[in-house]
């Protein structure tokens, strides 16, 4: 078991290093550079020497290997550098955005998973019949909707035509609400982006849950459980669900990790101050330190999610536990 953990750790460290290296290289491989950002609006009137001096102030005049070395060195001590655009430490910017993304993406994925799981169970129960076909059709329909379009539609209908919800932001900033009022205000602003996120992302879980449930429902032990005289509900929750849960957990963990960077479109449409929007702007402006910092954070979150899933499997499914034991025994 110990060797297994060690091997996993090695793997994760390798992935982390590879991601960190890509995070360094990819932004620099894009055409263009952050000069416009560094020089401000009047970049055209700078002399060549002034331009070079500007690039030197952030170390971009150095050869790549040197920049890379310095970047790794700083990363090891937790220094993510300074944003060119915002004149602030990257870590400070990331930490101010993280809670909003956690709130939106985290709540969104949990809700999407619950909705997908529930509908998936409903569909699997009546597999092949009209109810199943309708749900399947709906899931594919929602899957194919672009998030920005759903968001704009919701704004047009539920914020402009019928002004139930605000059109932008995460809070009513100047209202200075506290306590319960603040929580209500945040929820009020969260409603539409959250609804958008759930609408466009539940179908993945739905499809996985449905097909996993269908597979399990056909297993002999389910027939045996029915034969034993267990109620439908007992069969479903005690025997079927537990066996069908693994792929759902996997999809959840991966979706959650991806949602950190992937809610960009929704954050943009609703002017939500999250990480996705930050990355998008950093790409446009070639703000290398922000890109490196944000991608590093996402990489870490994905790795942690993977570790969590790995740790959950044996607990969820004794077969995995046994397989792991056997693998160790064989080694």
């Amino acid at each position: 078991m110990f060797r297994l953990i060690l091997a996993r750790l090695g793997q994760h460290l390798f992935v982390l290093w590879a991601a960190v290296t890509l995070n360094f290289a990819l932004p620099r491989l894009m055409p263009g550079n952050p000069l416009a950002l560094l020089a401000g609006e009047d970049v055209a009137s700078l002399t060549t020497i002034q331009r070079e001096a500007l690039m030197a102030t952030v170390g971009l005049d150095r050869p790549w290997p040197e920049q890379y070395g310095r970047y790794l060195e700083r990363l090891l001590v937790g220094d993510f550098g300074y944003s060119y655009q915002r004149n602030k430490p990257v870590i400070e910017i990331l930490l101010s955005r993280l809670p909003w993304t956690l709130l939106l993406a985290g709540t969104g994925q949990i809700l999407a998973t619950l909705v997908g799981l529930g509908l998936g169970a409903l569909a699997a129960q009546q597999a092949g019949r009209a109810g199943d076909m309708t749900l399947l059709g709906l899931a594919v329909f929602f899957e194919s909707l672009p998030a920005f379009w759903v968001g704009m539609l919701l704004i047009a209908v539920l914020a402009v035509q019928v002004p139930l919800f605000p059109t932008f932001g995460a809070v009513s900033p100047w209202e200075r609400e506290v306590g319960l009022a603040l929580a209500l205000d945040v929820a009020h602003h969260l409603a539409l982006p959250l609804l958008t996120l759930v609408m466009v992302s539940f179908s993945g879980t739905f499809l996985v849950a449905r097909s996993a449930l269908l597979t399990v429902l056909g297993e002999p032990f389910v027939v045996a459980a029915h034969a034993k005289g267990l109620s439908k509900r007992q069969v479903l929750f005690r025997h079927v669900f537990r066996n069908a849960l693994l792929p759902v957990v996997t999809v959840f963990a991966l979706n959650l990790a991806h949602a950190f960077g992937g809610a960009t479109v929704i954050e943009t449409v609703f002017s939500y101050p999250g990480i996705g929007r930050l990355i998008y702007e950093a790409v446009l402006n070639r703000d290398y330190p922000v890109l490196q910092g944000a991608f590093f954070m996402i990489t870490v979150i994905i790795i942690v999610a993977n570790i969590a899933v790995d740790a959950l499997y044996p607990w969820l499914d004794p077969r995995v536990r046994q397989a792991a034991m056997q693998a160790e025994g064989a080694a």
Binding site: A19, L22, P247, F295, I298
Partner: protein, 575 residues
């Protein structure tokens, strides 16, 4: 391991891919901001330099009483986050500089015709040789902390910009020989040479910062203090969320028309206008897209203020690459483009077709005799005469054995320009030029067209859609920067155009301060550009702004620039 439901190594490969996929996805089209078009400094000059003390400002007493006695809290969405909003940290030319100007003052101000007029300074006496400017300051201007604004602050501010590099102001103030402050209300600025752009580019543009606050500041970019003397105090800034300004009741030019100005940061254009429709905001710094104008005009609770815009859209040639290095070829291309049709199709008629000589027809310097011609047959004849005919029968002409098939670059985030590029490609097919339209992300495109924003570094493109912001038009003298072949002066001559005739005219313009002589030179330069066509001016889009007049309707349209300016908040004040 193979017994596990999901193979770990595959997941990890996925992780790696995700990072790159994100990057790729992020550079996809759709960003709302304009591509890099450095808004250069405000310029020009005109000749409307006041040499004598002008009449005093209209004072607050002449202000008509506002309809409501309730203090107005106005919500105006801004499209950018301008960070801590002091002169060294604001980000964009528009609306950043305009927001800055609510908090800080300049010695002159641009009036509704975008001409420089006295403001904190009551006048500018220029010596006969044009070198020495003696400015008299008002004695009733105070900083937000109550201290008086004096000539010492002006001297300090200009010298601070000289010493601490600033993208916009260091260049214009760098060569000032001396700044003296003999008494509290007098500033004497000595220039190394007469500078026709001095009033617009310096006096009406450089914000004065308080000496007692900034003295000793060594790293202005991280200095967090926005104490100014302007009509508003910056009361609060929440990054990525909003700015809150409160009125300065003691402002020398009169009490601002709104008590509180809240500026939420909304970057997505669709969301901004949804918020304007729902009433969450009352106005925005973003101009209406043409297709929204009719909708807002039809809404009885909203009003639309419109006027000519000085921002330009043009078809830029690489003047160094054959066959586009020949003026006749460029003329043929221009003859085949129907700019009226472009304005009607792309802007729904809400704009002005391009003047081939560059200046907006509403610009007083423009020579009305210069106008575009649309004549497809003449375009064909011109190419035939050059011997550029279709020799192999594929429908595309050949020039020196090479098919005339340019790639036309266009900013992927700009649907209007993409549409125009496609219409141009169709028009070129008519005359036997096969244009391939290639939409690219803004920064990538600029890296080809204008590497490092340094025209000395060359260029790698055939044709591109491009544009310059309003300040390049406001100062007609800045035309020189578009066409001068010397990279020191032709800082935005991105096509690499070379003409001895144009260079001679720009050299004269640099030292001419007489208004009549300036107009004559500008018109000659216009004629040269219209003939040589280093680029084809396509259009100037009108500016349309929607707002809720029930909350505030004091908006003032500033020629070519729009409604978000200091004067919009100072009812009844005419500089």
């Amino acid at each position: 391991m193979s017994t596990q439901p999901l193979c770990i190594s595959r997941k990890q490969v996925l992780n790696l891919l995700l990072t790159s996929a994100l990057l790729a996805a992020c550079s996809a089209p759709g960003q709302p901001t304009e591509p890099a078009e450095p808004a250069a400094t405000q310029a020009p000059a005109t000749a409307a330099v006041a040499t004598e003390a002008p009449p005093p400002l209209a004072t607050a007493t002449s202000v008509p009483p506002t309809a409501t006695a309730e203090p107005i809290s106005l919500r105006v969405a801004t499209i950018t986050d301008e960070t801590t909003l002091q002169p060294y940290t604001y980000v964009s030319g528009y609306p950043g500089w305009n927001m800055l100007s609510l908090v800080y003052d300049t010695l002159f101000i641009l009036d509704t015709n975008s001409q420089p007029k006295p403001w904190v300074a009551t006048g500018d006496q220029v010596s006969a040789d044009g070198l020495v400017h003696t400015l008299t300051l008002r004695d009733d201007v105070r900083w937000h902390d109550g201290q008086p604004l004096t000539s010492a602050d002006v001297k300090f501010a200009y010298e601070f910009y000289q010493a601490n590099n600033h993208g916009r102001w260091t260049l214009p103030v760098r060569d000032i020989v001396s700044i003296e402050a003999p008494d509290d209300t007098t500033v004497i600025i000595t220039l190394p040479a007469p500078d026709p752009s001095f009033p617009t580019r310096l006096l009406a543009d450089v914000p004065i910062i308080p000496r007692h606050v900034w003295e000793g500041v060594t790293d202005p970019k991280t200095f967090e203090n926005a104490l100014g003397s302007g009509p508003f105090l910056l009361a609060e800034y929440e990054p990525e969320q909003f700015y809150r300004f409160t009125a300065n009741p003691d402002y020398f030019a009169g009490k601002p028309g709104v008590a509180e100005l809240l500026m939420p940061i909304i970057k997505d254009p669709t969301t901004v206008f949804a918020a304007l429709k729902s009433g969450e905001i009352h106005a925005t710094t973003r101009e209406l897209a043409p297709e929204l104008v009719a909708e807002f005009k039809a809404d009885p609770t909203r009003r639309v203020l419109s006027g000519p815009g000085y921002a330009t859209t043009l078809l830029q040639f690489n003047n160094e690459r054959a066959p586009w290095d020949q003026a006749e070829v460029r003329q043929a291309v221009a003859l085949a483009i129907d700019t009226r049709m472009l304005v009607d199709t792309v802007l729904l008629g809400l704009g002005t077709p391009g003047n081939p000589g560059w200046l907006h027809p509403a610009q007083p310097f423009h020579d009305p005799a210069i106008a575009a011609t649309y004549d497809v047959e003449r375009a064909k004849t011109l190419l035939d005469e050059l011997g550029y005919t279709d020799t192999d029968g594929d429908g595309v002409r050949e020039a020196a054995g090479q098919p005339m098939a340019p790639v036309l670059l266009v900013q992927a985030n700009n649907p209007g320009r993409i549409r125009a590029a496609e219409l141009i490609a169709a028009a070129m097919q008519e005359i036997g030029i096969a244009v391939t339209v290639s939409a690219e992300e803004g920064t990538s495109l600029t890296a080809k067209v204008w590497p490092d924003f340094d025209v000395a570094k060359g260029r790698d493109f055939d044709w591109t859609m491009f544009g310059w912001s309003a300040p390049v038009q406001i100062d007609p003298l800045r035309m020189a920067t578009l066409v001068d072949s010397d990279v020191r002066y032709g800082t935005v001559n991105i096509g690499g155009y070379r003409s001895a005739e144009a260079d001679a005219l720009t050299a004269q313009l640099r030292v001419t301060t007489d208004p009549e002589a300036q107009i004559e030179l500008v018109r000659k330069l216009e004629a040269t550009i219209a003939r040589d066509l280093p680029f084809v001016m396509l259009w100037y889009a009108d500016l349309n702004y929607a707002f809720d007049p029930a909350v505030y309707d004091g908006w003032v349209f500033q020629m070519g620039q729009g409604v978000f300016n200091k004067l919009s908040f100072l009812p009844g004040v005419t500089p």
